[in-house]
Amino acid sequence: MQRMRFAWIAAVGAVLAAAVAGAATAAHTSSKDVTLNLVAYSTPRPVLTKLIEEFRKTPQGSGVNIRASYGPSSAQGQAVANGLPADGVILNTGNDINDLVDKGLVDKNWDKQSYNGVVWNSVVVFGLRNGNPKKIKGWNDLLKPGVGAVTVNPFTGGIAKWNILAGYVAQRRLGKTDKQAIEYLRRFYKNNVVSQDSSGSNATNTFLSGKGDVLLTFESEAINGKIPFVIPRQTMLIDVYIAAVTKSEHKAEWNAFSRYLKTYPAQKILAENGYRPVNKQALSEYRSKFPVRPGETTITNKLLGGWRAVDKKWFDPSKSIMQAIESSLGVSTGS
């Protein structure tokens, strides 16, 4: 009976202690005027946290509280469609935004905003091991036997889509036909891809924990992860898009935030954190940090034809090039 009593007292004591601790550390936000909900993709969390802080110091931003949710780009887009509260989104593929347009959640003229709806840029790079022992420089090096590539699942994370398109365009630029370029990708996925994480952040982790020889990622992610990298000659200029959600009740505040992100001070912060600015002044100031590669291509290039065309041809989960490639991987066995 003594044991029982002791246990009882200990349990009650623990609960009380926890309650007191909880109460003591309860963070109370003083009542702010407005709370904005930002839904974004995963990797820019550190820089966005900084930018939100800076925004709140500006006159337009004072009294504005911003709650941010981060996750894989496509997953976040769908969550907004399912009711995740959002005043605006920052996503890294056009079709994630287009899906929201089709559902009436984003205005169809979102890309007529300043800079075509783009808030920052990056490029596709190869993250490498120290010293680059496998001497990886270009896309054909990725096919070398024994080279393991870490990438992202194209059906959940946006980074993968840019990587795949960059690989395709690189092959086309080297003179291959459409069929040959797709075959390159098929061989790459079959022989060299060792992991497809759900999001960019997870892929970076996987690489940093020792898996693979090369990480296909954004330049910004490689810089922030302090991963040595090389920008292949043929690469894609990645757009990261920002759009307001139509049913937002705080459109004025969101637009203020959105505008702030494209101003010189904010873009300077972005540049310092590894993101390519869209603002002309910041861009020219940091030009040396962000070289332009001769084979840099954009999504609107006629080889690709913009996001709607790309999405249908490449990333439709029921029938598309990537769906076929991923299915064909199922034929091989092994762990």
Binding site: A7, A11, N82, N205
Partner: protein, 263 residues
């Protein structure tokens, strides 16, 4: 196989699967105590612990009340369909947490049957209410399953005696029934709390993952891992706190087992 052989096999298996990995995690946490501590005391982490505490408390209270009533009905009730009741109560145990999350989104999401709330500013999914609902769902069975066998064992003589002496139903319940099942209830509460604290799959789907607001402790661990750029000390640190809580739960179970445990 001789006695020693069996013992070696048993302990060897436990070491490989349970003890060695656990020891390794503690070791890794100890390797970078500063990083671990910084993560444990970060505001987002404190908020996550608070949320977990809040949700767990609600789930425990709701399922204790529900559990006792349900157990009484199953053992003593004469309602038709109590066989069904028994079966349904066990349902959450066989359900994948992912399916629980899917069910909640399907039902309460903006396009769901009960999507009215979501669309009109009373967010359920991607907000705390769905976290609470998910947790209540997955912890449903525990108190019931512990109380039912105890109720069966003790029978109804004492309550009947009380009735003949003039006690009302409520008095009999409060003074006789409840005390007689209290250790089963406590044990069930401990199991409920452990499961509630540990819930991940369903909550990962429905929470909206807003750090500092709708992240539970388990989501916070995954978050710390995801954004760690390869440095796992923060994730291990927070995980260590949860593991320590689990050990406390184990101690409670160990101490209470003779009284309340019916496996």
């Amino acid at each position: 196989m001789g006695r020693y052989g069996l013992r070696v096999v048993a302990l060897g298996y436990l070491t490989l699967i349970l003890i060695a990995p656990l020891a390794m995690m503690v070791w890794r946490t100890a390797e970078d105590l500063d990083g671990a501590w910084a993560a444990i005391t970060a505001p987002d982490t404190i908020a996550a612990f608070e949320l977990t505490l809040k949700v767990t408390t609600i789930a425990v209270v709701v399922n204790t009340v529900f559990g006792i009533i349900c157990a009484l009905l199953i053992v003593r009730g004469n309602v038709p369909g109590r066989g069904f009741l028994n079966a349904f109560v066990d349902l959450p145990l066989s359900l994948s947490p992912v399916i629980v999350g899917l069910a909640l989104i399907t039902l309460y999401g903006a396009n769901g049957w009960l999507g009215w709330f979501q669309r009109h500013g009373h967010e359920i999914v991607f907000a705390t209410p769905s976290i609470v609902l998910a947790t209540i769902f997955v912890t449903l069975p525990f108190v019931v399953r512990e109380v039912v066998p105890t109720l069966r064992e003790i029978g109804t003589e004492q309550e009947q005696a009380a009735h003949t002496l003039g006690a009302s139903g409520w008095q009999a319940f409060w003074r006789i029934t409840l005390p007689s099942i209290r250790w089963a209830v406590v044990y069930g509460v401990v199991l409920t709390a452990a499961r509630a604290i540990g819930e991940y799959g369903a909550v990962a789907l429905v929470s909206g993952n807003i750090a500092g607001e709708t992240q539970t402790a388990t989501l916070r661990v995954e978050d710390a891992y995801q954004f760690s750029y390869g440095n796992y000390a923060p994730a291990y640190g927070i995980a260590f706190v949860l593991a320590a809580t689990a050990i406390l739960v184990l101690v409670a179970m160990l101490v209470l087992q003779p009284k309340g445990a019916r496996h």
